[in-house]
């Protein structure tokens, strides 16, 4: 297990694996990964396509269950929680940013942010105000009433970031957040994420296959063929070769 000492861990993975299919068709997407991610860390999961980055992110986000090993989030074993408890955990503690934005096409920008707040007990006015505040934080307050189709890719991703942060999560998990953006918008989004991470002290785990994006993180985890092959935080202590 690797990770900086002295930091309370957000995640602790011990031999976490995820396979798909059965018998001869079985594909091992993640192969016995063990690592620790501290609270407030900005971690980039780096690797080529098919290396298991997204699978790892989905396990961290309680969107999937490991086939083997264990994943603890803030001391809680995700494998032992039921679907409802996992949903509650995602609601209270996690925020997601997707490569394709995953905004709901029939809802306006502000309504998309409100969608993340809907299961929480709050008044309509409070929910609307919170959503607008977060759109303001990503510079999109003037576009609050626009539908996703009326926004550029960069704007859509900023709405997705506002949605991910609306519930003040402790962890934000971003899957190739700049993958569908041009370089300029990609940089804008990365600047925004870095700023929010610094301001909000959230744990940010970001999946990317771009070297320059990975370099902006505090720590880079390198994956290849489902295995953890490098961890910048541990380099020097435990050199992992691809």
């Amino acid at each position: 297990m690797s990770g900086p000492s002295g930091i309370t861990p957000a995640y602790e993975l011990e031999g976490a694996s995820r396979s798909f299919g059965e018998d001869s068709r079985r594909v091992l997407a993640l192969d016995a990964v063990s690592l620790t991610i501290g609270r407030g860390e900005f971690v980039a999961v780096f690797g080529p396509s098919g290396s298991g980055k997204t699978t790892l992110l989905q396990l961290l986000g309680a969107l999937d269950r490991p086939s083997g090993g264990s994943i603890n989030f803030e001391g809680q074993s995700l494998g032992q929680l039921g679907d409802s408890a996992l949903a509650e955990l995602r609601l209270r503690a996690m925020g997601f940013i997707f490569q394709q934005f995953n905004l709901i096409p029939t809802l306006t920008a502000v309504e998309n942010v409100e969608a993340a707040l809907a299961p929480l007990a709050m008044s309509w006015a409070e929910r609307r105000e919170t959503a607008l505040d977060h759109l303001e934080a990503v510079g999109l307050a003037p576009r609050a009433q626009h539908l996703p189709t009326q926004l550029s890719g960069g704007e859509q991703q900023r709405v997705a970031i506002a949605r991910a942060l609306a519930r003040s999560p402790r962890v934000v998990l971003a899957d190739e957040p700049t993958g569908n953006l041009d370089t300029r918008n990609g940089e804008l989004v990365m600047d925004l994420l870095a700023r929010l991470h610094a301001e909000l002290q959230i744990t940010l785990v970001l999946v990317t296959h771009d070297e320059w994006i990975a370099e902006r993180a505090d720590r880079v985890l390198r994956l290849a063929d489902g295995r953890l092959v490098g961890d910048s935080a541990a380099e020097g202590a435990t050199k992992v070769t691809p």
Partner: protein, 484 residues
Amino acid sequence: MFYLRYLVAELRRRPARTVLTTLGLAVGVGLVVIVGALSRGLDDAQDEVLEPLTGVGTDLSVTRPLAASGDGGSAAGPQGAFGQLSARERRQLEDENKRNGLDFDLTKLGKPGDRFATDRVVATDLSFPASQVAKVRRLDAAADAAGSVALNAVRIEGTVPEASMPGGAALHGGEFTVTSVTVSGVDVRKPGLGKVTPAQITQGRYFAKSRAKARDEAIVDLGYARQNDIKVGDSTRIAGRRVDVVGLSSAALGGEASNAYLELGRLQELSDREGRVNGIQVRADSADAVGRLEDEIARQLPGADVVTAADLADRVGGSLADADDISSKLGTALAIVALLAAFLIATLLTLSSVQKRIRELGTLKALGWRQRIVVRQVTGESLVQGALGGLLGAAIGIAGAAIIDAIGPTLQASVEQQSSGGFNPFGQGAVSAGSTDVVLGAPIDVGLLLLAIGLAIVAGLLAGAAGALRAARLRPAVALRSAE
């Protein structure tokens, strides 16, 4: 509320899917409502035709027609039919018509060359004592019964011939004119069971309730009145007596229609049939009791012909019967097929729509939405679509029915000749053949309307719940991998 706004947004901002699903259901519901309305319209049309057939409240009509035991008389001709009668029946009929029949001596009418006019009242049905009416009324399954007399009032006018020729042979000599009027006697104390009922009065009024007051009153069939220029308030001669026309009645298609109706006692007197009737109209305790009552009457009056309202309905033919037949056979099937097709379309569209939204639903789960909230959201959308489809379908159905009402297609109802023996030279006492036009309406059946809307809502609910459950059960990671 956010969920409601989301629901509305989904329906409003995916117009093609919403319109297609809603229309699919609406067409099905609309068809069901229209077919139901048409079916009800046909039933009403048939009732309209049958009402004058059966009279108000009459379930059975009892007569004692000649040759009631065989039904080949019509082909055998009058003499043949007469020949089929038993000796007892012949004697009875001859006796009934003896004093007031067509067998008379012309020489007693005047001197050769003198003008003469004579009125005769003859019957083609055998009569029975009026006491039988009371016996029928006392039968277990009978609610009430009334007697009647149906006769032919024949007026013969002409010149007394040089050589007297007794009997009916002289009638064919060309020196006489014969006019025949069918007349029925009505028990005015029981108007609902009369040969003519208050419901059939189109002008004027029904008989006075008192038998004494009704003695000189007559009701005349509308068609006969038009032919002979008779109006309400006129005094006319029927069966040789002057009577006041107090009302005109609508033609009774296929019923035992007469040209004129007199108070029963008065007609019995005029035809020398005091204390005798040749028809009984009976009302059963209930619709279920009709069959039993028919058997009881047949046992009490051997040889009697008992005709039920259902028998009369069976004889209604023409385009009305064809349409009703099509409606009962095809209409229900069409409605079921339309509804099933609509539900199938709505279900497939809903499932397809949910399938396309799997990633969206996965995103919602990633955002912390519980499975039941996701299912509720999608089901709510389908439910509203079902309700919209149901309401639009109801509107289509009501509009379709209104169009049918506005067009008012005409159907023809015809009634076949009843084969009651054929010895029936004047048609009295038998169900007369004829046809009438009836306008087809399409009254909306509110119950069916609500049922169709309800089914559309249920269809939406089930389709939405099935699709949503299937999608919401997926792990978020699997749903998020789904292509848009």
